[in-house]
Amino acid sequence: MKQKTGVIGTESVVLNSSVVDDSITIEVLDEEVLRKKERKKIAFGQVSFGALFIILWEVLTRIGILDSYYWSSPTTILQTGWVALTQGTLLIDLGYTSVATIIGFILGTFIGAGLGLSFWWSPFYSKIMEPYLVAFNSVPKLALAPVLVILLGIGFTSKVTLAFLMVVIVTALAAYSGVKAIDPDMEKLLYSLGAKKRQVFVKVVIPSSMPWIISSLKINIALALAGAIVGEFIASKYGVGRMILYAGQIMDTNLVWVGVVALSLLSIVMYLVTIYVEKFLSKGMNVNR
């Protein structure tokens, strides 16, 4: 403890025992190093929690607290999965579902962003369209799946279309929010420099709305996946969704679980890729302004 002497304004005089100099040096810690340490700890925690969960699942089904007919078990899922992968069609199904998801996601993102950004060109047109966009956004598009399958057939197109529909409006609304948030003075600046409307669009509207579009990507990839799977549920020859449906019909719960786990892994991978893309784009756009 530091003790004050009678002199106001001096703090470094200590009457304590033999210590004369009480100035302490605090080691300056590198923030980046600290953050890395923290991140390592978090990653370790995340992995341990997952491992614990899987072990618990295995143990509970082994000792019969959970009925392994319904809940399967990690090892059985792994075995069944391996068989489905090497002898069955799991690989093709996974490919089918992911390609449908990705195409729907990319089309939906680009067309949706284009639609939202196009609203900048004419406030009149955008005011007319906005309520319809909002209304269409609240339509449960998955409920349209049977119609789409009848319309487009049980092939690939109907899956892509569903994935696309899930994404396109959300992205359009996100991009439109971006458009509405543009600083009008930035447009003014460009016009004062003699810019044409097209130049303002390219140099201000698109980059300024980018953060909004980017932030919708993460949700969109999950939505696209849901769209593709529901499409496969309705009627399909391939896909993880179809595999799950088929396994359910023949009461093969293990195979159902394989499908569920495969989908989870797929969505995790896609999510991670999206985060990476997001980071890459955000850096390029200097988004954390």
Binding site: Y191, S192, L193, N286, R289
Partner: protein, 261 residues
């Protein structure tokens, strides 16, 4: 000056109309500005200074009046003058260099040529080493410099500056004022400068136009005959103090008339 002006603003009136109510932002204002002058426009908030600049820059059209650049009417035409708006408006997704060349880019110059023109200015006027930084990494003064360089580099003969130093602290402000005077001397532009600050107006200008509030209209023009180059000592001279007193009186009159401020 044989009656030829670089920029003539003749009897400009701007009326905004909202809910059937007319609001006169600028009334019958005329300014005649010879080439190469440093002209300040001073007046209370809301008296139509930015409106006047928007008209000169061609962003809005006056309800009545003419704007002549070298005797040619430029009403409603963009791109004739360099305009720095009240905010620095650096595009946050562009680096300083990319921001500074924006005007040239809009004009359609080649990228390498634009950069070749911008770099010497950036180096000479105190932003060396920050070319590839983003605006959010710069101090207020530096951002202001970048925005000014963007305006200067646009290479218009006339530059409009709307309170460029309003947000800066006194010390940075003085530094920036000297910096601006340097640029003005080097590049021989005609500058129109809006400010609230009487000292700033006197220190920088050849002419000061005083606007009155509501409706904004030209009140007086004062010519500043202080010798150049000017420095901190200028502010202590007798002429300077007399001018300041005169301006203070003028603006005080206005405040007496207008209690809204």
């Amino acid at each position: 000056m044989e009656g030829r002006y670089k920029l003539e603003i003749l009897n400009n009136t701007k009326i905004f109309k909202k809910n059937g109510q007319e609001f006169i932002a600028l009334e019958n204002t005329s300014l005649q500005i010879p080439e190469g002058r440093f002209v300040s426009i001073i007046g209370p908030s809301g008296c139509g200074k930015s409106t006047l600049f928007n008209i000169i820059a061609g962003l809005i059209k006056p309800t009545k009046g003419q704007v002549l650049l070298d005797g040619k009417n430029i009403i409603g035409e963009n791109g004739h003058v360099g305009y720095m708006l009240q905010k620095d408006l650096l595009l946050p997704w562009r680096t300083i260099l990319e921001n500074v060349v924006l005007g040239l880019e809009v004009k359609g110059g080649k990228k390498e040529e634009n950069i070749a023109k911008a770099l010497p200015l950036i180096h000479k006027y105190g932003l060396k080493g920050f070319e590839n930084h983003f605006p959010n990494e710069l101090s207020g003064g530096m951002r202001q410099r970048a925005a000014l360089l963007r305006t200067v580099l646009y290479d218009a003969e006339i530059i409009l500056l709307d309170e460029p130093f309003g947000a800066l602290d006194a010390q940075t402000r003085l530094m920036m004022q000297n910096w601006l005077l340097n640029i003005w001397t080097d590049l021989k532009k005609t500058i129109l400068f809006v400010t609230h600050d009487i000292d700033e107006a006197i220190y920088l200008s050849d002419d000061i136009y005083v606007l009155s509030p509501r409706p904004g209209r030209l009140k007086t023009k004062i010519t500043v005959d202080l010798p150049r180059p000017r420095n901190e000592g200028t502010m202590l001279s007798r002429e300077y103090i007399e001018l300041k007193q005169k301006l203070l009186d003028l603006l005080k009159d206005e405040n007496d008339q207008d209690h809204a401020i």
